[in-house]
């Protein structure tokens, strides 16, 4: 179980980071509600 768990969690983390980073520049929230974005993802000049 542990053998598969770690790669699976790495995959989930990578996808989650991809979604998080791309949602800083484009709005994915077509479904009209959005969770609170962490400060580190807010882009500033």
């Amino acid at each position: 179980m542990k053998r598969f768990l770690k790669p699976l969690l790495v995959l989930i983390s990578t996808l989650a980071l991809f979604i998080a980073s791309t949602s800083t520049t484009a709005c994915y929230f077509w479904s009209l509600r959005e969770p609170k974005m962490p400060e580190s993802l807010i882009k500033r000049d």
Binding site: L5, K6, L9, V10, I12, S13, L15, A16, L17, F18, I19, A20, S21, S23, T25, A26, C27, Y28, F29, W30, S31, L32, R33, E34, P35, K36, M37, P38, S40, L41, I42, K43, R44, D45
Partner: protein
Amino acid sequence: MEFPERLSEKLTAVISENLEDLSERKLAEINYGIAVFITNSYKMLLIFFLAILLNIFKDFLIAFISFGALRTFASGVHAKGEWTCLPASALFFFGIVYSGMVIDLNIYVVSIIFALCFSAVLRYAPADTEERPIASRKLRKKLKVLSCFAVIALYLASAYNLGTSISSIIAFAVLVETILILPITYKLAGSMYGVGISINNKREV
């Protein structure tokens, strides 16, 4: 806290236990990414399923893509709670589809709708929220330009399909999304318009 956030926190805790080398910042971003995925996916699946049941999937897809093409860049007001979001999303999408199927718009009406939407997008897009502020001026400018291009592309698509329900559905989708970026809509929904702009102004002061 809504259930997508609760679920994402639990999953992030499992990730944190098993992958030790992740910083607090990275974990917060993973948590957010998972919450975004859960928040969007289950509602979209439900609405897609409902569209199939109502036998309007093709028209729904046109409404969904047109609405989303503009919303991706222009953003707009969002529901505060999970259980106001689902009925609101369903109401908007099916409202757009049925209005487009019933009301046949001619080129003059389509042109007026798109001209009004273009002016509103030019003035108010991108319309961010307290949850996801767009503070960068460069990014705001880029999103405004892309929103304008999206309106033009959708106008061309609507004009090309004139005389069919597709044309009206695209026009109504753009109209609804444009209404969602107006400051008056934010006021009515109890949200704050222009959070990103105020963050930028505070930094400059």
